[in-house]
């Protein structure tokens, strides 16, 4: 993602290579420092190329969309206009939406998402670790969990709308349920995958059950849990928006719903764009938290994953 790929730029490629050569180049002869400089400039060129190609891709995609819809090759009534989407967003920002100011809609959806995400992932991680540790409990509950997991959870959105009404809690509940299972299964698997040697070592060193869980099991399964959080945040947004579609008084999902019912295709797209931006920002924050939490992992594992 473009937000992240700016970071791996090393000191070598970031500045003039001659002023700050890497240690091995300083010790080596001219040849090796030349080599290092050439390699870093090649890396920088490659990165610039990637940026250029990304921009080209966006221009091609949005440009062809704009062109085909304005020439009426593709019906703009169904497919919207990129320029129309921008205009719609702008009027939302300046004049507010039919539901009130735009920031309020974003804030409402964000609140539902974040709450659902937090509740779902905490519960999911806690239950995953508990069932991973207590084999008997896992055996007893396994058919129920599998059964519950097979329910299309979006359907529950309708149920929650009835149970909790039009307020916040129904959406949070939908998001929670979506997040819970993903985090649960990852945490459960993570506990099961803990290296047997590490467990044996901790036992020999005298770790009791509480210490084993806190110092061995949880840190070890943390990389599994954190990996699931990336997917979960997207699911939390889905949960919040689906909840809003089933009935709400505010939120980006409600905005999309309204736009759809007034055949305002540009409004639907503008809402989707808002959700995408929200997801990207959250993804960046999550990655930062992850790198912080698992700083013991080797760089290439915890660091950049291009997509």
């Amino acid at each position: 993602m473009s937000v992240k790929s700016t970071r791996p730029r090393s000191s070598v490629s970031g500045q003039s290579p001659q002023s700050d050569p890497p240690p091995q180049a300083r010790e080596g002869n001219r040849n090796s420092s030349d080599l290092a400089a050439r390699r870093s400039s090649a890396a920088r060129r490659r990165r610039l190329n990637i940026y250029a190609l990304r921009v080209a891709f966006a221009v091609l995609w949005i440009g062809s969309w704009e062109l085909t819809t304005s020439l009426n090759w593709v019906d703009p009534f169904f497919f919207g206009h990129p320029s129309g989407i921008v205009v719609r967003l702008w009027t939302w920002i300046t004049d507010g939406t039919a539901l009130g100011p735009l920031w309020l809609q974003v804030a409402v959806t964000m609140q539902e998402t974040v709450l659902g995400f937090l509740v779902g992932s905490v519960l999911g991680a806690a239950f995953g670790i508990l069932l991973g540790r207590v084999a008997l409990l896992a055996e007893i509950l396994s058919p129920f969990i599998k059964g519950a997991n097979s329910i299309p959870r979006v359907v529950l959105g309708g149920l929650f709308a009835i149970m909790f009404g039009l307020g916040l809690s129904g959406k949070v509940a939908t998001a929670t349920v979506l997040v819970f299972f993903v985090v649960f299964f990852n945490a459960f698997q993570g506990v099961r995958e803990v290296d047997r040697n590490l467990i044996a070592n901790a036992r020999i060193l005298g770790a009791d059950n509480r210490r084993m869980t806190a110092e061995i099991i949880i840190p070890s399964s943390l990389s599994w849990i954190l990996a699931s959080l990336h997917i979960s945040f997207g699911l939390a947004i889905v949960g919040a928006v689906v909840g809003e579609l089933f009935g709400a008084t505010a939120g980006v999902g409600q905005l999309i719903y309204n736009a759809q019912h007034t055949f305002d295709i540009n409004g639907v797209f503008a809402g989707m764009l808002l959700l995408a931006v929200m997801a990207l920002v959250a993804e960046g924050i999550l990655t930062a938290i992850e790198n912080r939490l698992i700083k013991w992992r080797p760089r290439q594992l915890s660091g950049e994953i291009p997509i």
């Binding site: 290296d195 040697n197 590490l198 070592n201 060193l205 005298g206 210490r211 070890s220």
Partner: protein, 269 residues
């Protein structure tokens, strides 16, 4: 012998295989380790060498027979056991300092005192200055030192080592073997050192147990009367070393051949 540090008496260990069969790792194995003795256990691949350590440490109970440590029957993990594993078993999310301090902390030593003692041990294994590194930032040999410090800090009366240096390159390995001997000399621990390398076994140990091809049982045990302190790199050239090596190898060779034939058959089937 009542005074033995470790006794395994007529021990058999069976495991259930995933296919529902039964695999016998050890059969009717009897061995004794005297207090303060450095024992090596050699044997062909898959003869149950590591299983003996699992039994002594209490990580696995024997199916038949009895295991006694310091005269007491083993139920669960006995006090005063140290275990250095074959693969890295240091905790990757803990720094070197936290790793070494883990044992004392688990035994109830307050955090600060545990860390002070850990710093001492880190210096003793030659890792001063690396306290705040994570294991992935260290070389294989350095991680092994962390593992050594981690188990030695608990002052084990019995130190179990499962091919601890097998993953190291030859130079690092010789270095580590010398350091192990120096560290051991400053303790009174009894050591059981499992290895498939007969040279390593003789260079380090007072006594070498040869196990048969699996299911393992003791084929013979040989006293190694080479003088201490030893230099591992040099001791190999002593004539007495060669004599002992030849005596043990003549026994071990047959077992290695049996094990090799079996593997060939298993591969052919």
């Amino acid at each position: 012998m009542a005074g033995a540090a470790i006794e395994l008496r007529n021990v058999t260990k069976r495991f259930a295989t995933p296919k529902g069969g039964i695999y016998t790792a050890l059969r009717d194995l009897t061995m004794e380790v005297a207090p303060g003795e450095f024992c090596a256990v050699v044997g062909p691949t898959g003869c149950g060498k590591s299983t003996t350590l699992a039994l002594i440490s209490g990580l696995e109970p024997p199916s038949v027979g009895e295991v006694r440590v310091e005269g007491r029957a083993v139920r669960g993990i006995p006090d005063g056991i140290g275990y250095v594993f074959q693969t890295d078993a240091v905790f990757p999310w803990k720094t070197v300092l936290e790793n070494v301090a883990a044992g004392p902390r688990y035994h109830g030593t307050p955090g600060r005192e545990a860390r002070d003692r850990a710093r001492e041990w880190i210096t003793r294994v030659g890792l001063a200055g690396f306290e705040d590194r994570y294991p992935h930032q260290l070389s294989g040999g350095m991680r092994k030192r962390v593992g050594l410090a981690q188990s030695l800090i608990t002052g084990p009366k019995i130190l179990l080592m499962d091919e601890p240096f097998s993953a190291l390159d030859v130079q690092t390995r010789t270095l580590m073997e010398d350091e192990l001997l120096a560290l051991w000399a400053s303790t009174s621990a009894s050591v059981v050192f499992v290895t498939h390398d007969l040279e390593e076994a003789i260079a380090l140990a007072d006594r070498v147990f040869v196990l048969t091809a699996g299911p393992g049982t003791v084929k013979g045990n040989y006293a190694v009367d080479l003088p201490r302190p030893r230099k591992v790199a040099e001791i190999r050239f002593q004539p007495r070393f060669t004599e002992i090596y030849e005596a043990i190898w003549s026994q071990l060779r047959d077992e290695v051949l049996v094990s090799y034939e079996r593997q060939k058959h298993a591969a052919a089937v």
